[in-house]
Symmetry: C2
Amino acid sequence: MREFDEQGITAAVLARMDQCGDARFRQVMTSLITHLHDFVREVKLTDAEWMGAIQFLTGVGKTCTDKRQEFILLSDTLGVSILVITLNHPASGGTTDSTVQGPYYWEGAPELPNGANLAIGVKGEPAFYSGRVLSSDGTPIAGALLDIWSGDGEGTYDLQMEGDVGMKARGRIRTDAEGRYAFRSIKPEYYPVPTDGPVGIMLRRMGRHPMRPGHIHMMVSAPGHQAITTHLFAAGSEYIDSDAVFGVKESLVTPYAKHPPGAAPDGTRMETAYYTVNYDFRLRRA
Amino acid sequence: MREFDEQGITAAVLARMDQCGDARFRQVMTSLITHLHDFVREVKLTDAEWMGAIQFLTGVGKTCTDKRQEFILLSDTLGVSILVITLNHPASGGTTDSTVQGPYYWEGAPELPNGANLAIGVKGEPAFYSGRVLSSDGTPIAGALLDIWSGDGEGTYDLQMEGDVGMKARGRIRTDAEGRYAFRSIKPEYYPVPTDGPVGIMLRRMGRHPMRPGHIHMMVSAPGHQAITTHLFAAGSEYIDSDAVFGVKESLVTPYAKHPPGAAPDGTRMETAYYTVNYDFRLRRA
């Protein structure tokens, strides 16, 4: 068979995988090709739209650098990332929900002493975070690792700052013998995902705002447990009901308790108001 | 609504287009997002597969240069390009079929006199092409433009050759007052699509060969008519029944008549065997 009509082409492409030795890959590609062709037929994609899609995807690829991942942003803003996470990390047994990693993770943040300030010299209102890392049965986990990152108090990440500023508002903290962690950072603010690339153009054409509510990221891991990638969201933050990447989970929305100037939890004398956040993470046994 | 389960996320993403002022864009994105989410749910895409997809697509973008379009190659090898063409350019009324453009079109080939040799110094067996460009009712079209390109007789395109060789086996030819065109080039050979990039990796994992049967490309255009982008395929070429990009149409498969050394159609004294090809293109009125 050489020539295929608009229906037959799908079976023809699938038949070319007859020699595929990887059953899972074949299953994934079969579903992908079928849906891709169904989409093209359903909307009767025009030549110009097809070329627009080629140029868009090429632009997304070209926008990716070692400091920016526009394809993750595309996946995030189309709800694909959170769907993958929700499918693979269903909340159960009281373990902490996962959410999107986002495009700003930077491997290799410094390991700092429990209680350290991750945000020295970073703009924003100070916030003191504390809590425990627990196993799903409630047992505290000693030596669990929190790999923490966020933007500054204006929602700007170090990777987005002018010049090569190095790591800001990032650090790794280990729990103590009682499973306790503590660190100081800032109260995160809402901010726009990057809108100066192809995904920004897409969002504008969709009539969508690009905002994410204030949140701080962490990966939490411990031997013998499933690691999680998650956020804490600041309760009451603007855009908490319309996160541009659909990442909000009720269980991750956390009050930031405001305190007047005075002695902070770590004994620091604060000249300005500050916040405290208390949150326990629960990990599933591996 | 803040939090979405694995079904509800799709409606949530679609609802974000409430303010979209472009009805067609909204229709296309609605179908795309729905199929993309259905695909992810259907195969229960894992975290690692999602990250593999992000890396693959980023790699496809990074592989694109001003001389190589890996996203078009991806679309071609997944049968998407030919599907879009088949939907938008149904053969009817005896007009010439369209097929894929492929990734090697290079705008601005020199306009050469009718009868010119496009392949001076290009490897391959000589072939003399001739025929007419006709309107769908059979009226010859004077001044129709053929923008022609192919690889050499080993299937290598100028864009793939070592160094900056400039244009090879490319040229634009106009029909004469009787709608006739003629040019000399080579008999095209089968060749592999580029396999040193992400699409090559994908084809190997799918268990597919990367070969295209021998073909020569042309865009044919004329005032008052719909332009077509098409190929002529060499009848009997290897891989004609399993083109890696699904581009073969029976109506475009053309005999290459072989002749012993002697006087060619343009009067040239040929020292080697040569081929002749005769094909009439028919364009739909715009």
